[in-house]
């Protein structure tokens, strides 16, 4: 098993668009790393650079310690699962899964048959070898695509939005399944998705990409709870974001003037008075208050509930203040229920807020 190392990778397409802008990433052997970001952020280009379908304009790619920057795709030993699966329609499931080993040339027919059977077992579709891809359901095609990618024992598994074409229920099922298989095989995996929920649930680490750069790289909990940039806070999960100028810094706390409201936050980064910053507060960190007792460390908002929806285990409220600001609050289901139209006061502790770069 082997890791992947991207050093100073840039990719400029003929034109002038810089799709990937000088990124570095070290992926450890057996690690599951997700590249997540909006469409056009460069995540797919990065993946295709690892696979060898794109040649970086600058930088180097190492797989298993070997420099493969100039190697063509067929000499890289990566296994890729494509968004639309790309199962060869004219070949059977068996022939699809065997394809990589046959191209390799180093396996006997018996070894190939045994390995194909093993792979079909792994993805829980034994006995489907004689079928054609179009005789399989979307979820089954997905599994076969995974089996095909893993069959030639690649150094790394590359997944390009493989769950995007599945319906929601199947997608959630496949998230679990994919992770199980990945851990069972112990293969280094790079997963690309625009779905932040998928990124959070599946990865050891996730790399949030925006405009060709990494905004933040870290374990899901860290990225969610300790976003470093406004973009990450906004893209991963739901966030209340208060943009303003620093008016005061003291004792590890920062005061930020947002025009309609002054917000207090823990000083999670170095700031000086006058800096443009954003304060981030996750919706589930808010509480409803019965009275408006003004605490120094609390940010208090009063307004009308304009919208409420049940999310199962929790309830989401949208509250509009007199100044027209919308605050999103999520509370556990069954506690303090409030009706749309009701006047309420909510607060969030300064310790539960973070200062991030705008």
């Amino acid at each position: 098993m082997s890791g992947i190392s991207l050093q100073d990778i840039s990719k400029r397409y003929s034109g002038s668009v810089l799709a990937v802008d000088d990124i570095d990433l070290e992926i450890e052997s057996g690690e599951f790393v997700t590249l997540v970001g909006p469409s056009g952020c460069g995540k797919t280009t990065t993946l295709r650079t690892i696979a060898g379908f794109e040649k970086p304009t600058a930088g180097t790619v190492h797989i298993g310690g070997k420099d493969v920057t100039d190697a063509p795709p067929y000499e890289r030993n990566t296994g890729m699962v494509f968004q639309d699966f790309a199962l060869f329609p004219h070949l059977t499931v068996h022939e699809n899964v065997a394809y990589g080993m046959e191209a390799d040339g180093g396996y006997t027919d018996e070894e190939i048959d045994a390995r194909v059977a093993e792979m079909l077992e792994l993805v829980e579709l034994p006995g489907t070898g004689d079928r054609k891809p179009d005789q399989l359901s979307g979820g089954q095609q997905q599994r076969i695509a995974l089996a095909r990618a893993l069959a030639p024992k690649p150094d790394a598994l590359l997944l390009d939005e493989p769950l995007a074409s599945l319906d929601k229920k199947l997608r959630e099922q496949m998230q679990v399944e994919l992770r199980r298989i990945q851990q069972e095989v112990g293969i280094t995996t790079v997963f690309v998705t625009h779905n932040q929920e998928e990124a959070l649930t599946m990865s050891d680490r996730l790399a949030v990409m925006n405009e060709g750069k990494f905004e933040q790289v870290g374990p899901p909990g860290d990225v969610y709870n300790e976003p470093e940039t406004r973009f990450v806070a906004d893209f991963i999960g739901t966030a209340n974001i208060f943009d303003g100028d620093v008016t005061q810094t003291e004792d590890g706390y920062v005061s930020v003037d947002c025009g309609d409201v002054e917000v207090e936050s823990t000083a999670t980064r170095e700031t000086a008075v006058g800096d443009d910053v954003s304060v981030v507060a996750r919706p589930e960190r808010f509480n409803f208050q019965s009275s408006t007792d003004d605490d120094r460390d609390e940010n208090v908002f009063t307004g009308e509930v304009t919208f409420r929806r049940h999310l199962g285990s929790s309830v989401e409220y949208r509250i509009e203040t007199a100044e027209g600001r919308e605050v999103v609050v999520v509370r556990p289901s069954g506690l303090d229920e409030h009706e749309p139209g009701e006047q309420v006061t909510v607060s969030v502790d300064a310790d539960n807020c973070r200062v991030v770069s705008t």
Partner: protein, 618 residues
Amino acid sequence: MATETSTSDGGESGRAGLKQNAKYYILSYPLAWLVFVFLAPLGMLFMFSFWVHVPGTGYTAGFTLDNYARFFTSSLYVQQLWVTVELALVTAVVSLLLGYPLAYYLARIDRPWLRNVLLITIISSLWITYVIRAYAWQVILASRGILSSLGVATGILGSHQSFYPGYWGLVVGMVYVFLPFMVLSLYSSIRNLDGELLEASKNLGAGPVRTFRRVTLPLTKNGIASGTALVFILALGAYVLPRLLGTPNQRTLPVLIEQQIMSESNYPFGAAMSVLLIVVMLVFLWALIRITNVSAANIGGAEGVTGEDETSTTSGPGALSGLWSRLGGVVAATGLSRVYGSVASAVSDRVEAVDSDTRESVIGTSFRVYVAAVMLFIAAPLGIIVAVSFTPEEFLTFPPGGFSTRWYVEFFTDPAWVRSLVNSLTIAAAAALLSTSIGGILAFTLDRFDYKFGSLIGTFGVLPILVPPVIIAVAFLVFFLQIGLTGTRTGIIVAHGIFYAPLPFILITQGLSELNRTYEEAAMNLGASPVRTIRTITYPLLRANVVSGALFAFILSLNEYIIAWLLSLFLVKTIPIQIFNQLRYSYPPTIAAASTVFILLTVVVMTAINRLSGGIWE
């Protein structure tokens, strides 16, 4: 791979996985054929038209305008030029009027099997040599032929009379031959029409006539345009029909050209007339485009809605259809929509008084009767040939006086016929291979690599099929005279190979554009080299297109007459040549048997193409 050249198209080369220079090596193969064996003969044709004819010995190099002067100073030639153009126009217009209802019916019919049967019938008849199809009309129109016999039997005619040779007999034959092209152009256009639009129109209160005039007709004007232009061009270059169904008064330009070459051996004058035919074609195309642009604005209902392939003018076939759609704007725009419109509103006024149910059923019934009649017109002549081929008698009679296979025995035992059959099959098979290698490799290189003049080369790739065959024939004749390939099978193979290369080119280009590139990436990701990827993934996925392209070229070469005839210089005989020659002297029923064998062969191959491509006609 391309290590030192990490230029902007590095991604492209990585994907194709081929060395940078390879793209020029590969392109050079089809390009060499097209330049040296297609453009060179055309250039030589142009040059030849200025050379000097020496009666008796042939020609000498030189420069004279006499060939052109001779044409324009003779009122006979100028008049024949006009006849040629008039015939082409009449054919195009009549084909449109007959073809539209049939195409509409085919596109809207909800019984797939019936559509398939009708389409196969239309398409199969499309490829059968003009010689056999003209022959069918001779059988129908001759004195004591089918029409005449029917007329006498029913008392309409007092005595037997012949309907050919003559102007209207010729028009009927021309329309019969070119109608399938019109129907197929219209069919694909009407088929693309969203049925909900028609429902929306009816929902908004428009009756069938109004819906047709305001929605259907404007939205299908691209099909009308391309069909009309296509039929016009094909009719302009027609040789066999005017020759077999017309009188000397209907000697069109292609007929005159053939006479100069084969009877007078006046190659320079034949070349000059060929150049004139090209010029006439270009002038008329240009004029049609001009008319459209000028009048497009004031055509009721025709403006506003543009067709389906307005954007696809980059690739070769795209550029072609772009041309056709512009041409078509012409026809759609000017007369025809008005003719249709006024007829339609006259009908609608007439039936306004009747209640709407009756009205719809009257329209529906007369529509179906009309469609059935047109379909009969397309299908019956070949059926008649098949029927009369089983006559036991020495001469063709209808209805046949019995059943016998003696003429088939005759066909398969007569050394002359067998030799022709072997020639036909050999030439067609070799030409199909050549066409596919040229068209296929051109399609592949243009799809996979970026070239500076890529779209120009693509247009170049479809050009041969647009040149009237009689001109291809004369061009290759003068070319082969120089290199000694006249009167050989090789010469005919090369000419057919170039002439039909656009068919595999278009089909394979289409296949490549529909091919999902991810399959190839998946193969490479799994460790397959570029060669292995092409062998195990790309080719298998394209096989239907490649084989269909080859079969198309095969069937067309098999049925081609004029190129083979002029290049044969009496030395090589194919089945169409053999039938044509026999038609000049006598009418043994062997011709009908030979034709039936040929029809059967064509239908089998066309059905194979259809099977192979899973409904390519859609």
